[in-house]
Symmetry: C2
Subunit: 377 residues, 2 copies
């Protein structure tokens, strides 16, 4: 099967996302194209990856690079969210500088969202900006975090509070590599695909209702879902690169989702990001129904689809105890996207009719959360 | 005396540098203008400064801000280059996040080059970019480092290796504040003013030969020199924001200068940046003369002017021992601006006729340095 290309067109940059099977074996070719390099004898790069991806795929990538005489320095960090820290960032930067990579050299982020955020942040601030290439290895990273140029690490005060907007020179999304993902992680990525339908593409959501299950096995449907997701996200990013307006729609399900991730202390045994988004999207629809914006049947329809692929949709799907509604409210008001103490939510007026609701009443949210929690106590 | 304004026009941003006496007392007004804010009751900002500036001027600034009901959180770091470190950066970021400043809030860098680089870097990466305002308090910062948007910290592998390009919303250059500078620091700033003449403005150099001494006391000549310097730098930066071309001319005297700063381990008792640039510019002219690009009389003329204001011009002006020529060469080849192992220098073909010389022979530089060192052994 032929690889597909989604072009991200920004004000100053333009780059391609290449999507298809067995692309790792073409990495050198894609780098060559995106950096406009004629030969590789001077190409030097760092491959930032994590222990999981390294054990499964680093040899394959290194072989491909070495075969093409590309000098690559591997930098392997611990797998997991805790690597999005100041200390890991400093380690990665030190190793890239120790390898004497220069401004025109490249950093490849080879991994999921954590690696993309960490590697991209390092690339953006070393020598005030090195070339950056993404090879996302999770479904979530391929359809979401690798598109849009957000990089960053976490702070003790919250997630992604430190970072930059920095665009890659290209993104290489190998759909075969997704077959090595744990099913739970694959599902979590799928939640963000559903989100794109729910934001403003009702036909895409309907397509997912019919074809969603097929995405879980490799083939043209998986590629098509990734292509359509990247096209959608690239379109929004192109119109709002620095998130001053409609890009906020991408936060559908994320305000409630981040609340739940914080409430569960980012413990991946309890909840991972895409699962939090699945529950968050359901809550956003239920909250919209409570505000009489939509009919509750729509909420059921969405919940049914998310459940069909095995995603959690309710607070009681989260193992362990949750804090009370008041505590959950304080977590919401610490969110990065909160502006001047007014609560902003992405709500909806129908299937694929999401909108940015500013000045949402904190009391309404509190009451809604109390009701939800009451059901599980 | 009326304040003057230099507008920096970049692709996406446009901002003003306000230059004149007693501007600290107008800080609130200038912030209001640059942020297009109607009132201040929601203006929140952090003031990043160092122990020296804090003891001399922080009260004045805080009084002005408080009088205008601007909520300001002071963040005071140790004075000196060692604050351009990962650990100080993390401290500054933590304090800004702890104060719960948001994306639309501001960071003021109130100090010299170190504070501008550190505060600007923090502003650029917190929440992927907060508003940034510069109040430079040294001559060097007013005429050089506050213009152009370079931010950064040092690494064990070299100076300014970690940072971003990030433009301020405005720069407030109070010419009175310079009267509290130690003379040695003032002189060091003056060296960079001379540099602007030597790059490509022979008439400005001639004006400095006549008027340079007057810049050392406050008055219209000082303001004029700062205005002309900012105009010149803003012009170059506007044409080459990301330093891919002619902006490199600003490195006149800096390749030799950085070499000397590294050789003296950035020990400010021995050498400060502007002094290194004064010696570096003299060396760049002497090296140009050795390559038969200029007549040695031009070198003497420049040395005479630098000496007239008390700046060092020769290797023997640096107290203590210097390493041998071979060691100095390795320091040059570690410079950030070295591309693919070819040496790039800014050389000159006459007064104010500097140019970017690529592929300078390392042997010629080595021989030149050996000759210079021979004179002091």
């Amino acid at each position: 099967m032929q690889a597909k290309t989604v072009t991200v067109k920004l004000d100053k940059h333009c780059y391609d996302i290449i999507i298809g099977p067995n692309l790792i074996a073409q990495t050198a070719l894609q780098i060559k194209r995106s950096l406009h390099q004629k030969d590789f004898h001077q190409t030097r790069l760092a491959v930032v990856t994590d222990t999981n991806v390294a054990s499964l795929h680093l040899d394959t990538l290194q072989t491909e690079l070495t075969r093409n005489k590309i000098h690559a320095v591997p930098i392997v960090v611990e797998a997991g969210e805790q690597s999005k820290s100041f200390s890991t960032l400093q380690t990665v930067i030190d190793k890239i500088l120790a390898a004497r990579l220069e401004r025109g050299d490249s950093v490849i982020a080879f991994g999921g969202g954590v690696i993309g955020d960490l590697g991209g942040f390092a690339a953006s601030i070393i020598r005030r900006g090195m070339n950056f290439i993404q090879i996302p290895t999770t479904l979530l990273a391929q359809i979401d975090s690798s598109v849009g140029g957000k990089t960053g690490i976490n702070s003790r005060y919250g997630k992604n509070l430190i970072g930059t907007f920095y665009q890659p020179r290209c993104v290489i999304a190998d759909t075969c590599i997704l077959d090595t993902l744990p099913l739970r992680q694959f599902r979590a990525g799928y939640a963000e695909i559903v989100k794109y339908g729910l934001i403003n593409q009702p036909d895409f959501f309907e397509w997912l209702e019919k074809n969603g299950q097929k995405i879980f096995s490799n083939g043209p449907i998986r590629t098509e879902a990734i292509v359509r997701s990247c096209q959608f996200k690239a379109h929004i990013v192109a119109r709002d690169e620095y998130e001053t307006g409609e890009r906020a729609l991408l936060n559908l399900g994320h305000t409630f989702g981040h609340m739940l991730e914080t409430a569960t202390a980012y413990d991946s045994n309890r909840l991972i990001h895409g699962e939090a988004v699945a529950i968050g999207m359901t809550l956003a629809h239920q909250f919209s129904a409570q505000l009489n914006l939509i009919n509750p049947t729509l909420t059921h329809r969405i919940e049914t689809h998310l459940k069909a692929v095995g995603l959690p949709t309710q607070l009681q799907d989260i193992p362990g105890k949750l804090p009370d509604a008041e505590t959950l409210m304080t977590l919401i008001s610490q969110d990065k996207k909160v502006s001047k103490n007014n609560l902003t939510f992405i709500l909806t007026r129908g299937l694929g009719q999401s909108f940015i609701a500013k000045n949402v009443s904190p009391e309404a949210v509190l009451t809604f959360l109390e009701q939800k929690l009451a059901k599980i106590r």
